[in-house]
């Protein structure tokens, strides 16, 4: 039983990172109808940026802060202006193809600097705790707590501040938001900026485990996408639930079925949800406008 709880806990920690990336998917979808298949690479790039800043002798907190600023400019503003805005009028499929292309370009662009994995400092000490017979690492506890705080904080910002509500309003009815004088382009940019910040946070938490490598975002991006669909693409709480389900599910499958099937769990769950509850576990059915 202790093993089960151990697997459950580390699964929750991994799942919370998926949730961070999945939240980015749902935010962009709700605010701008964009599915960003470069989401995994949006986590990989900040990891390399932090290492680059650190290589100039900057302490990690400063590197993280500078990376956030850079990410808002590049993964937020430039991504929106350079890819999403020009393609938006042509429909979602064009944006999907463009973001797939972007992910390949980002991956291979970083690969040009070297294909080897780079170690990344962890925020947490290498300590192990024994709680009621369950062994947990400080890294798992810290990752889970930080990721949950970020997800809950983002949701609180959206639900409790006037800016957050204005962002929700834009997502729910853009034309009405515009009629009320809500600055629609600015609210959409804020969404892209929040996505960039969440990607930096995910990079900070996941890279010590995955190591900084050009393809580190590939599996993370795919699992985050599955997590977002499982939870409900139009519900940010769904991203949290989906992320945790995928994280726990793949940990349990690796232990009780076979490690070889670990990566198939997210896909299997995704297919079950798509078949029986296509709007996701917490998602709402949406009418298609003709």
């Amino acid at each position: 039983m202790a093993d089960f709880f151990q697997l459950l806990f580390s699964g929750l920690a991994t799942g919370s990172i998926y949730a961070l990336a999945a939240l980015g998917f749902t935010l962009l979808w709700q605010a701008s109808g964009t599915i960003n298949f470069a989401q995994g690479e949006f986590v990989m790039l900040p990891a390399f940026a932090m290492l680059a800043f650190a290589s100039f002798g900057m302490p990690m907190p400063l590197s993280f802060f500078l990376t956030i600023v850079l990410a808002i400019a590049v993964l937020g503003w430039a991504f929106k202006r350079g890819i999403v805005d020009p393609l938006f009028r042509y429909g979602m499929m064009q944006i999907v193809v463009a973001t797939i292309g972007l992910s390949i370009a980002m991956r291979n662009g970083v690969r040009l600097t070297g294909a080897e994995a780079h170690p990344f400092p962890s925020l947490f000490a290498d300590r192990i705790y024994n709680i009621a017979g369950v062994t947990v690492t400080q890294s798992d506890i810290g990752t889970l707590v930080l990721a949950m705080l970020l997800v809950i904080g983002t949701q609180a910002f959206l639900a409790r501040t006037i800016t957050g509500r204005a962002m929700q309003a834009v997502a729910q009815n853009t034309e009405s938001a515009s009629v009320l004088g809500i600055n629609v382009p600015r609210m959409i940019f804020y969404t892209f900026a929040i996505n960039a910040i969440l990607a930096c946070a995910a990079a900070l938490l996941v890279t010590p485990v995955y190591l900084a490598k050009f393809d580190m975002g590939e599996s993370l991006g795919t699992k985050a996408f599955f997590a977002a669909v499982i939870g409900g693409f139009n519900n940010s709480r769904g991203a949290l639930l989906g992320g945790l389900i995928v994280g726990v599910g793949e940990n349990l499958a690796a232990a009780y079925v076979s490690a070889a099937y670990k990566d198939a769990v997210a896909l299997a769950l995704f297919m079950v949800v798509i078949l029986f509850k296509p709007q996701g576990l917490l998602g709402r059915k949406e009418e298609r406008k003709v």
Partner: protein
């Protein structure tokens, strides 16, 4: 002693507006009196809703001039127009369905600032007791009539000088339509200028002061509403009356 002529509230002067190469308003000119209810009527595609959209800055005129209280507002931004006291209730569902009634109202006053908005929300809710009772409900949980009332309430938060309202009766029961019309009448009596597009033309003419008829984006008639209501030709053209059959 000569009397100074009253400056019209809204002036459309030779306005051409539409979408890309397809112009819907063609050299349209008219004036709207302050504190009046003016009904825009005409067949489908005549440009009634386009007048409201152009006045609210959603469409930029290709030609001509629009003035509010004598000041040129041609091409002004929506934020500027809201600040000048123009509020717009478009056709259809315009709420944020997953937000509460209170949150919808709060966003209606986003250009006013939180303090003013919070002061005005209770005043606005006095107009709509049914909506007031459901202040913490999700907007999507309201009935069609309550939703329309909330939309109008959201616009009233701005204490608009001019209220543009497009098809307010769509989806409402006859009783609720009368409630909405009474409210518009009350607003006009308190000095708000109302410019309305309404499919329920007969009922709307009863509360309107003036009527403007459009055809292919051009003005074909501008008369007091009462005169129009009793004109048999206008009834045939715009109110759905049967055309006289040839013997």
């Amino acid at each position: 002693m000569t009397q100074t002529p009253e400056i019209p509230c809204i002036v459309f002067d030779d306005v051409v507006a539409g979408y890309k190469d397809f112009m819907i308003l063609n050299n349209l000119s008219f004036q709207v009196r302050k504190g009046s209810i003016t009904l825009l009527l005409g067949p489908n595609g005549a440009g009634k809703s386009t007048v409201l959209k152009t006045l609210f800055g959603l469409l930029k005129p290709q030609q001509g001039r629009i003035a509010l209280d004598g000041q040129d507002i041609t091409g002004a931004s929506q934020t500027d127009l809201l600040a000048r006291g123009i509020a717009f209730v478009p056709q259809g569902r315009n709420l944020f369905p997953q937000l509460t009634v209170w949150q919808n109202l709060e966003l209606g006053g986003i250009t006013l600032g939180a303090k003013t908005t919070h002061e005005r929300i209770p005043e606005v809710l006095e107009f709509f007791p049914r909506v007031k009772e459901r202040i913490h409900s999700q907007a999507s949980a309201l009935s069609g009539g309550e939703q329309k009332q909330l939309e109008i309430g959201r616009a009233l938060l701005l204490r608009p000088k001019v209220l543009l309202i497009d098809e307010p009766s769509i989806g409402l029961s006859p009783i609720l339509v009368q409630d909405v019309f009474k409210l518009l009448k009350r607003l006009a009596s308190e000095g708000t200028t109302v410019l309305m597009v309404e499919q329920n033309v007969k009922s709307a003419l009863k509360i309107a002061d003036d009527a403007i008829a459009l055809e292919s984006g051009r003005l074909v008639l501008h008369k007091p509403a009462g005169e129009l209501l009793s004109d048999p030709h206008i009834e045939r053209l715009f109110l759905g009356g049967a055309a006289p059959k040839a013997a």
